[in-house]
C-alpha cells in the first residue's frame, strides 16, 4: 500500500477494497500471487476450487470464518485448540499445494518430509 497512519491508510484500504486477511481467505489468495505469480482472477479461482466454494465466498466473513474453522486453517478470533501460526500455515500449504518456506524449515528441523 504505502505510508500513512494506521487508521488513515491500511484500515481505510482494508474497508474499501481489502480481501480481509485471515478473517476471510485473503491470505490464501495472497499466497497464490506470491508463490505462483498468479494474477487476481486466477488466484481467486484457484483458491475457490481448492476450498470448493464460490469465488464470491472468498471475501465473505461469515462463510470463511466457518470454513476456516472446519478446515482448521487458523481463524481471526482466538480459539482454544485451533491451528495457529506454523500449524495453520502447514495446513494451508497442503491445501493449496504450495511450499511455505517457514514450514519447510520446521519440517527439516524435526526430520519430517
Amino acid at each position: 500500500m504505502g505510508a500513512g497512519d494506521p487508521f488513515g491508510m491500511p484500515v481505510s484500504h482494508a474497508l474499501a477494497s481489502g480481501m480481509g486477511g485471515i478473517r476471510t481467505a485473503g491470505d490464501l489468495v495472497a499466497r497464490m500471487q506470491l508463490h505462483r505469480k498468479m494474477r487476481l482472477p486466477e488466484a481467486k479461482r484457484y483458491v475457490a476450487d481448492r476450498l470448493k466454494v464460490a469465488q464470491s465466498d472468498l471475501s465473505d466473513e461469515v462463510a470463511m470464518r466457518e470454513l476456516r474453522e472446519e478446515l482448521d486453517l487458523g481463524v481471526v478470533t482466538s480459539m482454544v485448540g485451533g491451528a495457529k501460526a506454523l500449524a495453520a500455515k502447514a495446513r494451508i500449504g497442503r491445501l493449496l499445494d504450495v511450499r511455505v518456506p517457514s514450514v519447510e524449515i520446521l519440517k527439516q528441523k524435526i526430520g519430517v518430509s
Partner: protein, 353 residues
C-alpha cells in the same frame, strides 16, 4: 449549482461542482496519457470517477466480490513511529505490531522492516533482522515479506565511499558522476543479494524492494540485477515497488536488457521487472498537491491501468500518502483514500494494493 465536498492533493477540504469535477477528471487522465504515451480513460470510466467523487457518502467501497489483496510495506513501524511512516506512538515491538496488523487490521500480507529501512544499514545487523523475521514467521499465518529500500544515495559521500553525483554533476564532471553511480550500484546489488539470501535462509515468504529508483536509473539497474540473482537462486517471492512515476535520469545511460532505464513510466518499468524475475510489481504515481483529488486519482488510475493491462504478474499499486491519488498529508482523509482505493480496483483492475 450542487457542489460536493472533496479534497486537494495536500489534503485540504474544498467544494467542487459537477462540471469542475468532470473537467479535472478529464484533465488528469489526459495529462497521464500525454506523459506516458498511453490511452486516456474512456468516457465510461470518467463517468464512473465522476459518480465516485459526487457520491454523497463519506467513504466508498468496491463491489462485493471485487476485493483485492493488500500487501503492506513499512507499516510495521507505523504503530510505534517511523519518521516517514506517520507512526502513532504506540510502543509495540515489531513482532507484536505485525500480529496487530494481521489479527486486528486483517492485512493479507505483512512485512518485517528495520526502522532505518534501507538495505545498507541492515547488512551489519542482519542476524538481528533474521531473528525478528524468524519470530514473526513462527507466530503468524499470513505471508511475510522482509523489505527495505535500495537507497543508492547511502553509498555516495559522505555516507558511503563513492563520489556523490549531486556534487559531481554541478561541477560538470559527468563521466565521473556516471562512473561513481555504476560503482555504487555494484555495491548496492551485492548488499541486497546478501540480505535477500539471509532472509531466504530463515524462511521469508517474500522480499520487497521498496521505493526502488529513488536515487535514479542506476539504482533501478542495481535492483533489477539483484532481483535477477535472487529469483534464480532462492525461493523468495520478490516484489518491486517503485519510488516515483518515472525513473529519474541521474545517470542517463544505464540499461537493463538493452533498454535505457531513465525516463521509463510504470508500464515500461513493469516489463523489465517481469524480465528480471519478480513476482509482484508496485507502480507509483505521484500526487500533485495543488490539483484536486479528482484530478490526481484520474491521472494515477490512467497510468496504473496501462500497467495492469501490460502485466503478466500481479500489480499492487502504491496508494500511500502522496502517491496513487492519495493526498500528501500525514493523516490522509478516509474519504479520499477509499475513493483512490476503489478507482484502482474497479478501473485500473489492480491485483492488489
Amino acid at each position: 449549482m450542487t457542489s460536493y465536498p472533496t479534497r486537494m492533493g495536500d489534503g485540504h477540504a474544498v467544494e467542487m461542482s459537477t462540471d469542475e469535477l468532470r473537467c479535472d477528471i478529464l484533465a488528469g487522465t489526459e495529462d497521464a496519457a500525454d506523459r506516458g504515451r498511453i490511452p486516456a480513460l474512456s468516457q465510461e470510466e470518467q463517468d464512473y470517477l465522476l459518480d465516485l467523487f459526487s457520491y454523497p457518502g463519506k467513504i466508498v467501497g468496491v463491489q462485493p466480490g471485487n476485493e483485492v489483496v493488500l500487501t503492506d510495506d513499512g507499516s510495521v513501524n507505523a504503530l510505534y513511529g517511523a519518521q516517514s511512516s506517520s507512526g502513532v506512538g504506540v510502543p509495540l515491538s515489531r513482532e507484536l505490531a505485525i500480529r496487530v496488523y494481521e489479527r486486528a487490521f486483517c492485512m493479507d500480507t505483512m512485512e518485517v522492516g528495520h526502522p532505518d529501512y534501507s538495505f545498507k544499514p541492515v547488512k551489519p545487523i542482519v542476524s538481528l533482522e533474521q531473528q525478528c523475521l524468524e519470530s514473526v514467521l513462527s507466530s503468524t499465518i499470513i505471508p511475510i515479506y522482509y523489505g527495505a529500500m535500495p537507497n543508492l544515495a547511502l553509498y555516495a559521500k559522505p555516507d558511503g565511499p563513492f563520489g556523490n553525483p549531486a556534487d559531481l554533476l554541478p561541477q560538470g564532471k559527468i563521466s565521473e558522476a556516471r562512473a561513481a553511480q555504476e560503482e555504487a550500484a555494484q555495491a548496492l546489488t551485492r548488499d541486497m543479494v546478501y540480505v535477500g539470501r539471509k532472509m531466504a535462509e530463515v524462511g521469508a515468504d517474500g522480499f520487497n524492494f521498496d521505493t526502488t529508483a529513488s536515487a535514479g536509473d542506476a539504482e533501478f539497474m542495481a535492483t533489477l540485477q539483484a532481483v535477477e540473482e535472487l529469483a534464480k537462486t532462492t525461493e523468495l517471492s520478490i516484489e518491486v515497488g517503485m519510488a516515483a512515476e518515472f525513473v529519474l535520469g541521474m545517470h542517463g545511460q544505464v540499461t537493463y536488457d538493452g533498454v535505457r532505464l531513465a525516463g521509463l513510466y510504470p508500464h515500461e518499468q513493469l516489463k523489465l521487472v517481469e524480465k528480471a524475475g519478480a513476482h509482484l510489481f508496485g507502480p507509483v504515481v505521484n500526487t500533485n498537491t495543488r490539483r484536486s483529488s479528482a484530478w490526481n486519482v484520474s491521472r494515477a488510475v490512467t497510468f496504473v491501468k496501462a500497467c495492469s493491462e501490460a502485466a503478466s504478474i500481479p500489480i499492487h499499486a502504491n496508494v500511500g500518502i502522496g502517491v496513487g491519488g492519495v493526498p500528501m498529508c500525514e493523516t490522509p482523509p478516509t474519504s479520499m483514500v477509499t475513493r483512490a482505493s476503489v478507482a484502482m480496483v474497479e478501473i485500473a483492475r489492480v491485483d492488489g494494493l
